[in-house]
Symmetry: D3
Subunit: 127 residues, 6 copies
């Protein structure tokens, strides 16, 4: 493992998903899933999100589009919340998901809109 990449990843992951969420994930990890926590932090958040060349806002929009296509509702909801933190507006999220509806099909679009509304409601409630 590269400690430098891991640390950069940890910082970005906390910024996007919330420090409390990330700390709880590590605290709850055991022998079984700790290696996955580490891989995700270093590889996904450090070696990818930590790169220059695209803003975090753009990376968030790409993630909303991709995770909709990949059909992973848990991850999608988390990244809708992360997108708001990265400055993507609700209007922009709508545009991303309408483009999903055209390119990945209406059911993918409908699911993504429903998940976005759930995410918005949870964010407001946590307020």
């Amino acid at each position: 493992m590269s400690k430098e990449v891991f640390d950069r990843g940890l910082e970005i992951r906390k910024k996007v998903l919330g420090a409390e969420f990330v700390e709880k994930a590590f605290a709850a990890a055991d022998d079984f899933n700790m290696p996955m926590q580490e891989l995700t932090t270093e590889y996904c958040w450090g070696a990818c999100w930590g790169r220059e060349g695209l803003s975090h806002k753009t990376r968030s929009m790409l993630n909303l589009a991709m995770i909709s296509c990949l059909n992973r509702p848990h991850e999608l909801k988390m990244h809708v919340k992360g997108a708001l933190k990265n400055g993507v507006t609700k209007d922009e999220i709508r545009e991303v998901f309408m483009q999903v509806a055209i390119y990945a099909g209406i059911p993918a679009g409908v699911d993504s809109f429903r998940i976005a509304r759930e995410a918005f409601a949870e964010v407001e409630k946590a307020g």
Copy 2:
């Protein structure tokens, strides 16, 4: 059909994919696939790309990410060329496809890089 939306779509489609390509597609269309040409032009290019709220450059990056996940190489190559026309740089295309590799998996990333290089070579050759 809404003539206004169709016309806006036709204009955008020509701008992104090239007027010659689009005119050839319509000229080659027959009874079998003309309705699909019209649907694509009106809904995909008019009702989606024609919306405000995201720049064409951002829409191109979203398409690269989505079409990689959807695993459609013909369409991906076309949209790599379109992305260059919309001002996405090669460095940005690399960043999109590295993010694809992380979120959709290494094989999706490898395929997208190979297709991008084919697209670049064809664009240079066409000069």
Copy 3:
């Protein structure tokens, strides 16, 4: 937007999914998802389902097969109920999902059968 296509779509959507369901969807829509409601109604229900050339019963069977492959359980359940409204029998739904099991794999088939049984139970209960 083409008002004619939208109106035809609205009528078909109400017939297949139930007028009450569709009216509630529009009543609950806000600035965020109203454009998606409109796109779905015009594009999916008007410009596709509104075409001649295939009966609504056949379109329902195609949807059951496709939405199983696309792995969208919320939409699948809704379209199982819609298929019953369009005259697809339970025996025919079984045949579609057995063909899904062979072509999209056993897990896709098993999931679709479970969702169909949930849909049947909800329809009976709503009676």
Copy 4:
């Protein structure tokens, strides 16, 4: 293996894909892929296509829709040809693939239309 189901499957497979094609597939099979030839013939063509409850024409349309969603161009081309043999008209194939475009996304639709046109051309050439 059930010889009865296998024989029914072999008959249907020859009817839909052509006797010559199927005989060549078995003649070219070796120790490596003969078990797959047998599995496909018995389960896919015998235990699924051999069931009552849906006409072969309807099963062909379901296959076009599913194999488009599953993104398998070799199999799709073969089943476009099979669909013509089972009495699905070109107009009906267009309708299936436009519904694919709406539910599985524009790139899936575009790919399917291109493959259908290749299949039609090959059928005409073969006379």
Copy 5:
């Protein structure tokens, strides 16, 4: 149907998923889904799992990898439990799902780890 293949399949299915689970599935089956129960038992568990050439332990690991990629959480949880019965250790399950994370993408990996932990907890609770 081949009674011999069905019986072999029934025995293996009970061994991997638990006799009680399988007996309940058949007892709860009705006209609608009994043919699917039979197809799954004969085709999946008899004609595939019943083959020699790979150990049940290896087949379980292949299933964990495939069902993660196919994104079917209900089936995945059942096969995590089945894998434990077939002698796959928790450490090996972790390795499979980390390989999933690399090849099918981080969201697929994260989902699979979450489902595995739910499966482990249910197994421990059931004692």
Copy 6:
């Protein structure tokens, strides 16, 4: 980057895919795709394949199953050749792909068998 993980990855990648292939990939890399070459070598081959807990033979079988499901023919052919190098026999490859046919559907199985036969032929020709 962790030089240690990269170096371990490079060694394994050369062992599985062939030193010549890997050296050519790096030699042909330019500013556009060198970061992807490095990411793949470090994370996929170093941080995943370099882990203990599963033999390379087992990892190869998992890859055949996953890449079939993910529908990536270029990568699949490469990994069929890699599997042979890692000691997976042709009989075992057949078993993996028959399990693919059951779980991911007949078209996935048929495609994988065809690609395996192409890979075998290329390996024999290369002598």
